[in-house]
Symmetry: C2
Subunit: 189 residues, 2 copies
DNA sequence: TGTACATCAGTGAACGCGCGTTCACTGATGTAC
DNA sequence: TGTACATCAGTGAACGCGCGTTCACTGATGTAC
């Protein structure tokens, strides 16, 4: 059944988007290609018309997720108080409860590190994020160092808030980290 | 082949220790029971003489890892400058390169959160760690908040330093976070 | 414009593999007499 | 002290399952005449 010119590109994109969501929500190992294709109304055999292997999809999906996230971040950075706005978004209960649409670092960094040959997206992603934070700090004298600490705290706090069962403790982690980071940002600027 | 009185307890302990190491190094899903038992010179069938299921082992191994880690932490806290000593240990290249003997949070928090029914060890572990940090801060007025930020930064920085490929960037994350946290500790005290 | 053909995205059965788990068994050692 | 028996930690084949991957195929549509 031959389809219109851009049909394949559209399907390709649907697979990438769905995979990017599942990888972040469930992890790479726990995401099966069969259920993934089924969720899109397709059969698993067709997968290999789009990707060389699961690893190929992982790389493509992670790039897509990173790119998508950069745009979400830029939206926050476009607000009047860019850093405050970004910190509020990153450490919001919404972000905590929607890993499938959020930052890949807290969900996938550990698994990517454990895999045999991790893709360079982590390095590039971390460097980009650090550079973006440093820029938002208006390149203050110690902006480079502050950005490393900030990113670590952001990722760590979100990870902890997600792994804890007690809703009160989870919220306490988010709120405390959010408040402290905004204070820290003000001190630097 | 009947063994001496405490032989079974010893084998049980060996399985727990090996599992605690593998779960932290490779993740839970990637750790097979067959390879695990083989590494101990046993066959996989005997596993069920010791544990009800893999989940049972996961719970036991995580408790063991947490307990073991608490002792390592206390060693650091026993030094002249307890907080500095602890921060130096946690964010050392040694800890980064030995996840199998280190803190379970950076390696396993994401996977535990993604599992269906995570054990309460995360909550208890996080609370314990927070309380220990607050105590080390001599219960300064905002020690409760500082401890949350500290733990987030510790976990986040270690996670990032592990997931990055570039050794220079990895070391930069560790060094920067270590320096900033020690400064932060001094400010509070 | 109408027909024959080529294309190729998607189908679905099949593959080998390792997983967690089960189970009938073995056989060295502690215990009972 | 010597012998018969019970115990039970560990053995290893087998189970069903879902995984990633392969492949001969289908059939609607674009293209050539």
């Amino acid at each position: 059944m031959r389809y219109s010119a851009d049909h394949k590109a559209q399907t390709h994109d649907r697979i990438v988007k769905e995979a990017a969501a599942r990888f972040r929500r469930d992890g790479i190992a726990a995401t099966g290609l069969q259920p993934l294709m089924k969720a899109l109304g397709l059969t698993h055999g067709g997968f290999y018309a789009h990707f060389k292997s699961k690893d190929d999809l992982v790389e493509t999906a992670l790039l897509s997720a990173t790119e998508e996230l950069t745009q979400v971040c830029e939206k926050a950075f476009a607000n009047p108080q860019p850093l405050h706005s970004f910190i509020d978004t990153y450490l919001s209960p919404t972000h905590r409860d929607s890993p499938e649409r959020g930052c890949p670092l807290p969900t996938m960094a550990a698994e990517l590190g454990q895999r045999g040959q991790p893709s360079p997206i982590t390095d590039q992603g971390v460097e980009d994020r650090l550079a973006r934070l440093a820029a938002a700090l208006h390149n203050a004298p110690n902006a480079d160092e502050q950005s490393v600490v900030m990113l670590s705290t952001l990722v760590g706090a979100l990870l902890l808030s997600r792994s804890v069962q007690d809703p009160q403790l989870s919220l306490r982690i988010l709120d405390t980290a959010r408040k402290a980071l905004k204070q820290q940002a003000d001190d630097v600027l």
